[in-house]
Amino acid sequence: MRNRSVRLIIAAVVGLLVSVVAFGQTKARQQRPATGSGTAKFDPRDFSGFWEGPPPGERPAENARPAFTPAGAEAMKKRMPIYISKNGRDKDVENPGCRSSTCSNDPVHACNPVGFPRLVWEENEPIEFVYTPGRILQLFQWGRTLRELWMDGRKLSTGKDLDNLGPSWFGISVAEWQGNTLVVNTTGFDERAWPDQFGHPLSFDARIEERYTRVDADTIDGTMTIYDPKNYTGPWPYQVKTATPLVRHFKRMAPADVNFFGLKGLFSGITEAMCAPMNEVDDFNKRIRDRAIFGDK
């Protein structure tokens, strides 16, 4: 009886010690510093995990696009971005008087979906890549939404198939590996959505090709080319304001930031960052933003 009690006590102490050590190791793993040097080993075809784009200062560059077609210029006349172009060639196609969310018809100001490519190339909220059979999912914190990259060999929707599917905020995307580069093609855009803050038009029939390469453990480099002959006179290799203007760098988020209430405020993965009209349009804009530009008269 006494021996049994001793054995139980020893087992309990050992169990406690093992738990403490295990907890300590888990804690140590969880509290590793943010992204490392990028020199760690990695699988170049494994994008799973949490990533975020560069800061807003590295947003798309304004004057990198090819010239408008007549139809593109006509479409641009209907866009009223908050942003006022400093580019002389655009002054005749932008509304010179619109500088607030009240008069701009940028759909995001009414909390419409940001959509693709804007959500990937203009926002810098976290993105999680999730691998499933036949698909890679992109889960976006902004809008708490997802994008499906079909990897099951299906062809890009065109012609009658695309017409049957109709337009959507994110389009239809198929993807494949070309070497260690993930190549994504998307068609079927909703022409009401803006691909960027400048209000550039993007037609339903346009095709966008993205190419993503994991260049080190902590970085995915992305490029994007817009093919939209309806609106532009040539392919548009999309540029951002960086030292490498054709490349948007996505950085791996540190485990401590995404698994706990860390720097990014995330408790467990992608959290909710919604633009709800009852918050933004009916409350914030009326109480603050619109008054800021127009005053109270």
Binding site: I82, S100, T271, A273, E280, D283, D296
Partner: protein, 135 residues
């Protein structure tokens, strides 16, 4: 030499942090057109509401003027994600709390602005955004 290097590194870090904090100020559209970023004004008041919401958190403060009249001011801030990075949460400001706020004023002249710094009644800095200010 060693001290000089540390000083240089410190300055570099401060500048880098300033850049990091400034960048999100540009996020989520349209602020520069609505506010005068070249001006900083200061106001004291009592919190009436701290709206912890995406895409813009907002702080509402009752401010008593020289004539005794109370005006409710609205100050916009960043998204929940951006503020969480700074350690803020939905209880960072409580109704009834006395605050001093430095802000960029609106272009339209209404009692609204963009938060740059917030201090409690003891002068402790509670929130700083958009990089250093000289005033």
């Amino acid at each position: 030499m060693h001290r000089t290097m540390i000083a240089v590194l410190r300055c570099g870090f401060v500048l880098f942090a300033g850049v990091l904090l400034t960048a999100p100020l540009l996020a989520h559209h349209g602020r520069g057109a609505s506010y005068d970023n070249s001006k900083i004004e200061t106001i004291q008041g009592t919190v009436s509401e701290w709206a912890w919401r995406n895409p813009h958190c907002a702080l509402y403060v009752d401010v008593k003027g020289a004539d005794g009249k109370v005006v409710n001011w609205g100050f916009e801030s960043q998204s929940i994600g951006s503020l969480s990075k700074l350690g803020m949460n939905r209880r960072s400001f409580l109704a009834g709390q006395e605050l001093t706020i430095k802000f960029n004023p609106s272009r339209g002249g209404a009692p609204v602005g963009v938060i740059r710094k917030v201090y409690d009644s003891n002068g402790k800095e509670l929130l700083s955004f958009g990089g250093p200010i000289d005033q």
